[in-house]
């Protein structure tokens, strides 16, 4: 058990007590240095969260002061709002399509880059670039233009405007996300470089082909990184907003097919001025993401392999 042993860098406690200033003073300094972050976290994250939790039980409409309505927002969401369920279906469809595609592409490119002799740095940056640009409004607008009526795709393949075809529109948004595979790719690349070369040499001696090596060495050795990327990208996918907003011109259309959860949340809050309802939606989303992440962690026990545990 090497992993359980923490490095013992701290000197013996008796010796420290003599020289160091009292514990409280040391902590004080730490707090001062932390203060910009703590201030930001409290004022810009925790406080708004607390307020939104309160608002989710009210009928706050931006203009009048909020009135307590108990669980009404929540019951309305689940029983009286057909559009809410359409947004749930659209989001789940998107997550199920975009996340696996994106991770697969990231892994393939990382594998290709790993064995590259020259120009690795250049290609790594080149493939990463879309991730830097991708979250921006401008790229989403370009995307809309590409998939629009008379856009590039329409002209090349005569498909018509994907943006206005239910089903295809969601795919256009998903492709934008898939294209931004840079972040998971870089993480995969780092993970791949951690796999000891001897494992591959040994496998080769035993006569394992490349596919066999990939399945029996790369995938298990990389599984913690795959897991990490999966959790991260899933959480992000649930919160997708900008591309869908730009591509559907803020409507989540056509026919609500790209009305993602966050887009509908925005619509309820800022278009319909039902901030209480929107807050309730946000909290449900938070809980759902929490549950999904917990489920992923639960399943990870059966497929994620930690090399250090292998010693046991």
């Amino acid at each position: 058990m090497t992993t359980a042993q923490m490095p013992k860098a701290a000197p013996a406690p008796e010796a420290a007590a003599v020289r160091k200033p009292p514990r409280r003073r040391r902590e004080g300094a730490a707090w001062v240095f932390l203060s910009p972050w703590v201030l930001g976290a409290c004022v810009l994250t925790l406080l708004p969260m607390a307020v939104s939790l309160y608002l989710s039980f009210t009928d706050y409409d931006l203009f009048n002061s909020p009135n307590w309505v108990g669980l009404r927002n929540y019951t309305q969401m689940f029983t009286e709002d057909p559009r809410y369920w359409r947004s749930v279906v659209a989001t789940l469809t998107y997550v199920v399509i975009a996340v696996p595609l994106q991770l697969a592409l990231a892994l393939i490119v990382a594998l290709a880059l790993k064995n590259m002799k020259r120009g690795k740095g250049f290609y790594r940056s080149a493939f990463y670039a879309p991730s830097l640009l991708g979250a921006s409004m401008s790229i989403a607008l370009v995307w809309r233009a590409i998939f629009n009526d008379g856009g590039t795709i329409d002209n090349l393949f005569g498909t018509g405007g994907w943006v206005f075809k239910p089903g295809w529109a969601l795919l256009a948004v998903a492709l934008l996300t898939v294209w931004q595979f840079g972040a998971p790719m870089v993480i995969f690349l780092a993970g791949l470089q951690q796999i000891p070369g001897e494992l591959y040499e040994a496998a080769e001696v035993d006569g394992a082909g490349r596919w066999r090596q990939f399945l029996s060495i790369t995938v298990p050795m990389l599984s913690p990184v795959i897991f990490f990327n999966l959790v991260l990208q899933t959480i992000q996918a649930f919160q997708v907003f900008t591309p869908a907003f730009a591509i559907s011109a803020g409507k989540g259309g056509p026919a609500d097919s790209t009305l993602f959860y966050t887009l509908y949340l925005y619509d309820r809050g800022f278009v319909a001025s039902h901030m209480g309802y929107a807050s309730a939606m946000a909290w449900v989303l938070l809980i759902v993401i929490g549950v999904v992440t917990a489920v992923l962690f639960r399943t990870s026990r059966s497929w994620v392999f930690y090399a250090s545990e292998g010693d046991r």
């Binding site: 300094a29 910009p36 009928d59 409409d61 039902h274």
Partner: protein, 428 residues
């Protein structure tokens, strides 16, 4: 002493951090009084054509009032609605804002708007048409003043209409005559006759009024049933299936701007719109456009009405209520301003100005004036201001119809959905 240095830099760090925080919340009054001048923010929605005219009028106002600097900004209607609501909620509403009939109730009861009677020294309302002026009142207080009056119209491409062998629609033509015209255009030209009106709450209201019913009852509930809406959507859905009105891919692109209507894109021969924004089509339809009255009910009951179009309101927390009211007064009552503005926000509500400028109206403004004259005295009174939830329901209406035009729901299902959503909306 190392300890001392640490403390000093800590203090510096804290001071810097606080400076950064304080800089973030510096007072807004600072920016509204640049160089001793009063700075007003004035926002509206509209097209570039309206923007150019408005800016020219504002320039004249600034020239006459050297101490006042007016900062203007405009966007399309949908974006404007959202932006203004957010600004208002953040206590940062522009000093002078353009409002729609459907917004007044919400903004007035929400305390965003100033009671303009407080500024009656500067803002004169004596020449405004009393009936229209009253539409800016909520609970007896004048929260907003209408700038013009508008009415709905069917705008059509004159040449295409003629090429299809159709005559100019007369006042009192019916919805079934309209539907036949749509079919004829589609047959003769191969393109849809017009925008699918199923998505428009405004068009539905005209149809509904033609049957003697209203969108909302006096106690702010729905004035129609799922059956009524099912009939309307079945009517438009069938026309769409026949190709007589625009397909779903075109209809879904509507966003309130004339550029994104099928007529504006050259994909249909007509559109249903308000008369003032229809001027935007001039630049888009090179062969010229005409305005026709909206179809009436089968027994001739008119559905359209003169609606106060585009109100002006002043923010309750404006730092310069007097100057703001002055700007409103200028836009409404000044003759030179009226000449510049023409009918870009509808025919003026100021009666003496309306008569004055009638002779001077040029081009499309004249077209609108003449159009309104054809229906003058033939329409029923406007409904009362719609309840607050109506702005949201407009969007819901479009979206539910999207489900119909993309054939994901039957008109009946979509109508029942809408009724459910509308009841929840109006309850809150």
């Amino acid at each position: 002493m190392p300890g001392n240095r640490t403390r000093k830099s800590c203090t510096t760090a804290v001071v810097l951090a606080l400076c950064a925080v304080l800089a973030g919340c510096s007072d807004t009054d600072e920016s509204s009084r640049a160089g001793g001048e009063v700075v007003l923010r004035y926002t509206w929605w509209g097209n570039p054509d309206r923007a150019a005219k408005t800016q020219a009028a504002v320039d004249l106002f600034e020239e006459r009032n050297p101490g006042i600097d007016v900062q203007t900004s405009f966007t399309g209607y949908e974006a404007y609605k959202q932006k203004l609501a957010t600004q208002a909620a953040g206590g940062d509403a522009p000093d002078v804002m353009q409002l729609d009939y459907r917004m007044i109730d919400q903004y007035a009861t929400g305390g965003v708007l100033l009671d303009l009677s407080e500024q009656q020294q500067v803002l004169k309302t004596s020449e405004l048409e009393p009936g229209l002026l009253a539409t800016g009142k909520v609970d007896g207080k004048q929260y907003a003043v209408p700038q013009g009056r508008g009415t709905e119209t069917m705008v059509y491409d004159t040449e295409q209409w003629k090429a299809a062998g159709l005559e100019q629609p007369r006042v009192g033509w019916t919805w079934s005559e309209w539907a036949d015209a749509m079919r004829t255009v589609a047959e003769r030209t191969g393109e849809p006759g017009g925008t699918d009106p199923g998505q428009s709450e405004d068009a539905f209201e005209v149809w509904l009024r033609g049957q003697g019913r209203t969108l909302y009852t006096a106690d702010r509930q729905l004035g129609f049933t799922a059956d009524d809406l099912t009939r309307w959507w079945t009517f438009t859905d069938e026309l769409r299936r026949e190709g007589a009105v625009s397909p779903a891919e075109q209809t879904t692109q509507l966003d309130g701007s004339v550029e994104n209507t099928p007529l504006g894109r050259g994909k249909a021969a007509s559109d249903v719109n308000w008369d003032a924004p229809a001027s935007g089509y001039l630049a888009l339809v090179p062969t010229g456009i005409s305005l026709a009255p909206m179809p009436a009910g089968e027994d001739g009951t008119p559905g359209q009405y003169f609606k106060p179009s585009m109100f002006m309101g002043v923010a309750a927390d404006s730092g310069h209520p007097e100057e703001s009211a002055k700007l409103v007064d200028f836009m409404l009552n000044d003759k030179d301003a009226a000449k510049i503005l023409g009918a870009t926000r509808g025919i003026p509500v100021n009666e003496s100005i309306r008569e004055d400028i009638a002779a001077d109206l040029k081009d499309f403004d004249k077209t609108i004036y003449d159009y309104q004259a054809t229906v003058e005295g033939k329409l029923d009174a406007p409904p009362q201001a719609p309840p607050s939830g109506d702005t949201a329901l407009q969007t819901t209406f479009m979206r539910d119809y999207d489900q119909v035009s993309y054939e994901r729901m039957s008109p009946r299902e979509a109508a029942e959905n809408y009724i459910t959503e509308a009841k929840a909306e109006l309850r809150s």
